[in-house]
Amino acid sequence: MTSRRTALAALLTGATLMVGACAGGGASDNVDAAAGGGAAGATTTLNLYGYAVPKVGYDLVIPAFQKTEAGKGVQFQQSYGASGDQSRKVAAGAEADIVSFSVEPDVTRLVDAKMVDPGWSSGEHRGIPFGSVVTIVVRKGNPKGIKDWDDLLKPGVEVVTPNPFSSGSAKWNLLAPYAVKSQGGQDVQAGLDYVNALVSDHVKVQPKSGREATETFLQGSGDALLSYENEALFIEREGDPVEHVTPPQTFKIENPVAVLSTSKNAAKAKAFDEFLYTPQAQKLWAQAGFRPVDETVAAEFAADFPAPEKLWTIADLGGWSTVDPALFDKEKGSVAKIYNAATQ
């Protein structure tokens, strides 16, 4: 009898404790945000689907938007993951109002699914509110002396870069040396040879997203991590024992944001999208380590974002509509073939 009472008492205590914890919840994982974001009354909720890396930026931009006239009472639900995987989820029915992907093809998938207006990239900045450049993150003190793309192919150097079929980051990471070695796509074979050597002999891990790649690298795998410059700045600020080297020739990363035509709150989503391009938001992106697209803001932060000798762009290679099928098609793309061969 006593033990049953004890059992019941224990269970009841547990239950009470749990219920006690069940105060109001929210989306923020930040204690301070609870005080600021509590706009009562009629609110709109916007669902943001993004790749994981710009979360640090949205953590600054969203509160700023909520303080503007248009953003009053707008709550955000944010989901972050691998760009390709996030795009797949939205196409498969996950409810989104606004998407923030790493690469344009992930938006194109939604255009094809008739979820994003085909004219999404017709604005002044072609639907790209922020960007970055591809950089190489190395261990503190750069023990392997990695400075340029060729250094990655030195024997014994292990490189961490995510899986290009789920991650946008991985596509940029491979495009950078491809563009450099092929002189902007003129010598395709030279570009592919480099990618082949890199993937076959130096890339062992295939994390699903740029953020997972960072985590893998910080946990001790590999000698070099290919990543966004903003991600490198982020982990350096976090105090992790790494530093980054931007090769003299590298690649311009352009991260698209689009509003879904299926959105129930299209007006607010549109307002948020427009807010991303305002000087105020552009400054916040710059503070978070992203390269702003607004020229005045970019000039202001020029010291933080050194210009490489040569910055190749996706346009140099003929745009995503050419590059994506040629390199990243899951069956016929050259990079897909390299990856399949490398995993044999």
Binding site: A82, N163, F165, S166, K204, Q206, K208
Partner: protein, 297 residues
């Protein structure tokens, strides 16, 4: 029943011993409760519930795995990366199951035959891996054997790490299946053998082990079946390195993420067949050995 708990997440022992006689008596007895109508309704509900929850999803999975025909299925399952993941999974699972067979029996022995302070706490601790969410298991092991290891042991992203994670989550299977048998083992036979001059090694090999073998084998089999499908506990510590530490469930998830659902379904069916076959063999074997026991008795 013994005084030990049935493992959480464990399939019940392949052949419930109480089932056969009770079934006979209930079938012989008069049916109770409601008319045939009520029972038909009940059976309908059960059928619908099991179909909707379990059968239909698996049927949909199987059908989708043949989306590209038999050759598509075969190509997806025999893709080099898929085969590599299967190899890693089966290899590590076999090793972990064997470690379990030895260490689980040892732990059970110590818990039953030995006496030491704190034994009951240790006994209760055995079930912890079943109660602990797998992702917590992963992060717990990572905090000890990960990059910030306080003891300087780095197992993350190695097969050792995989092995430790799988050994953690499968620990209770063998212990909990051997323990009750050990408790009920007749010690008089052992003592008779000892008085006839048999050494401890001989007694263990000739007397104890044969009685324990069925329990050890069934526990090991269950541990193996659990290990091949495991996901949560390896997700943070495994490293997901293709051909080295990527297990089948991670490979399947990767196929879903890169939008190759047919390949994901095909490899899922392959994985499902492995674990189902293991459990099926265990069940048949248990029935056979029970029958053999009954005929010799």
């Amino acid at each position: 029943m013994s005084t030990t708990t049935q493992p959480v997440g464990a399939p019940p022992s392949p052949a419930p011993p109480s089932a056969a006689p009770a079934r006979a008596s209930s079938q012989g007895g008069r049916r109770r409760r409601g008319g045939p109508g009520g029972r038909a309704l009940g059976l309908g509900v059960v059928g619908l519930w099991l179909s909707l929850m379990v059968l239909l999803p698996l049927a949909a999975l199987t059908v989708r795995s043949f989306d590209d025909g038999l050759s598509g299925f075969w190509a997806a399952v025999t893709a080099p990366a898929a085969l590599a993941a299967l190899e890693v999974t089966l290899g590590v699972s076999v090793v972990v199951a064997l470690v379990n067979a030895v260490m689980g029996t040892l732990v059970a022995w110590v818990l039953v035959r030995d006496e030491f302070p704190g034994q009951r706490v240790v006994n209760a601790l055995i079930d912890l891996p079943f109660a602990l969410p797998t992702i917590v298991a992963s992060i717990v092991l990572l905090s000890l054997y990960g990059p910030n290891s306080p003891i300087g042991v780095h197992l993350n992203a190695t097969r050792w790490g995989l092995g430790v994670a799988l050994a953690f989550v499968t620990l209770p299977f063998v212990v909990r299946s051997v323990q009750p048998v050990l408790i009920e083992l007749d010690r008089e036979v052992e003592e008779a053998a000892a008085s006839l001059g048999a050494s401890n090694t001989t007694i263990f090999r000739r007397v104890v082990l044969p009685s324990l073998a069925p329990a050890v084998i069934s526990g090991t089999g269950l541990a193996f079946a659990r290990a091949v499908g495991e996901y949560g506990s390896v997700v943070l510590i495994g490293g997901n390195i293709p051909r080295e530490t990527q297990v089948v469930s991670q490979y399947i998830q990767q196929q879903i993420e890169i939008d190759s659902p047919a390949a994901a379904a095909a490899v899922s069916v392959a994985l499902l067949s492995v674990s189902f076959l293991t459990l099926f063999v265990l069940r048949v074997w248990a029935t056979l050995s029970q029958r053999r026991e009954a005929s010799t008795a």
